[in-house]
Symmetry: none
Subunit: 225 residues, 2 copies
DNA sequence: CGGGCGCCTTACGCTCGCGTTAAGAGTCCT
DNA sequence: AGGACTCTTAACGCGAGCGTAAGGCGCCCG
């Protein structure tokens, strides 16, 4: 899941970002309201996490601005206060959920999952399946035809990304952004290499190949030949 | 965790109750507002789940009545509507959280855990088991294959935390929060050291290893190799 | 039919994450 | 107050895994 985190407290931000990355998410950070809003408008995130109090532009202002512009991206607001009025303000402004500090990362993660799911189709699903290939995000477990497959962290991220786009063609640029969080061309063949490794892991020795190359475009995960 | 579920739709109630029981909770049911309020006043529940619209006595009325009487039991309100105003009314009345139908059982359970955790110690299961490793939280006792294992306080906490997340991958950040109650990165390898010691204690000398490292992510306790 | 471009694979070096050991700091018990 | 036990920090070594590069194959187009 691609998350934008807007939090001015550097330490808190780093800590959260690290925790969310450990859980397999791609996290981008902004440290004040202005750049946060800008990022939210341009990058396409699955969910936003906003601190309530921010320099330059308050968290609630960001929400209002985005909602005013017609964005429906799920937003979770963080705050030091757990007052009912605070929560109400957050909701009124257009936030989808509200979490008071101090909270546990586990709870934050659960709420983010829930929020993205609520949006409908593109939401977070813990278990993914295509043909006889299954992936369990929480357990970080992949099996094919019931047999366990060992994957490295990158391979896992890559496969998860592909599975979340089953049937579509996924371009290299999409992969770079969604898996590596690169916003430039690395001018190397990183992706090819990892795709190759992933193929060895999930398709080798099976009749039906799932990971296909779309020449000139990218890759796709599908059961049709 | 002992839960009171007040929901007039019989089918929905049974479904929820079953789901929550499968998750190890004790669930009692009421099917209208009056009996719900009565039950809430007398039985001592860890958390209440109230439907918004109820015959005889509305969900919000129950909340107000309980809060008026000084009760601080966590309350989650269910509703068919996801309007901001609805949520706000729920919060104003004294509800702690609000969930719109349709929701996933997973999300409901997560919120209940979060609510009860906020209150303090609850949702407590005393005995945990994985393969031939057993832990009794109350007795602070751990055995493997029937033989007693001596653990220090930290080691015990750590193991308990891992066992409460059996099958999932537990990240370092989660461990720091759940075991050390640190909400920052200590920049040392405390966790590694304690994991190492815990391994010596529970896995050394056994064929089947239970505590596994998930590189780049964290650790997991599982019986599969 | 030949050349070029795009993709696949293999190989290799380097980084950094992890495990272990050991020593110092802190705490509790007697 | 002293000693034993536990927790934490630090140092070090190993190896997995990541990314770069390079060679080869095949597809597409001229």
């Amino acid at each position: 899941m691609k998350i934008l985190l807007v939090e001015d407290d550097r330490r808190a931000s780093e800590y959260l970002a690290k925790g969310l990355r450990e859980l397999g998410h791609v996290v981008e950070q902004a440290f004040d309201g202005e750049s946060g809003l800008k990022a939210a408008e341009t990058g396409n995130y699955d969910v936003l996490v906003l601190d309530r109090m921010l320099p330059k532009l308050d968290g609630l202002e960001i929400v209002k601005s985005l909602r005013g512009a017609g964005s429906s991206v799920p937003i979770l607001i963080l705050s030091a206060l757990d007052e009912v009025d605070e929560r109400i303000q957050g909701l009124r402004a257009g936030g989808d959920d509200y979490l008071a500090k101090p909270y546990h990362l586990e709870e934050l993660a659960a709420r983010l999952d829930a929020l993205s799911r609520r949006q409908g189709e593109a939401g977070f699903v813990g278990k993914l399946k295509i043909a006889d290939l299954e992936l369990d995000a929480r357990a970080r477990r992949v099996t094919r035809a019931g047999r366990k497959i060992e994957l490295t962290a990158r391979e896992f991220q890559l496969l998860e990304f592909l599975m979340r786009h089953t049937g579509q063609v996924v371009t290299r640029t999409m992969i770079l952004e969604g898996v590596w969080d690169y916003h430039f061309d690395p001018k190397t063949n990183v992706i090819d290499v990892h795709i190759s490794r992933l193929r060895q892991a999930i398709d080798k020795g099976f009749e039906r190949q799932l990971l296909h190359t779309v020449r000139g475009a990218g890759y796709t995960l599908t059961e049709d030949p």
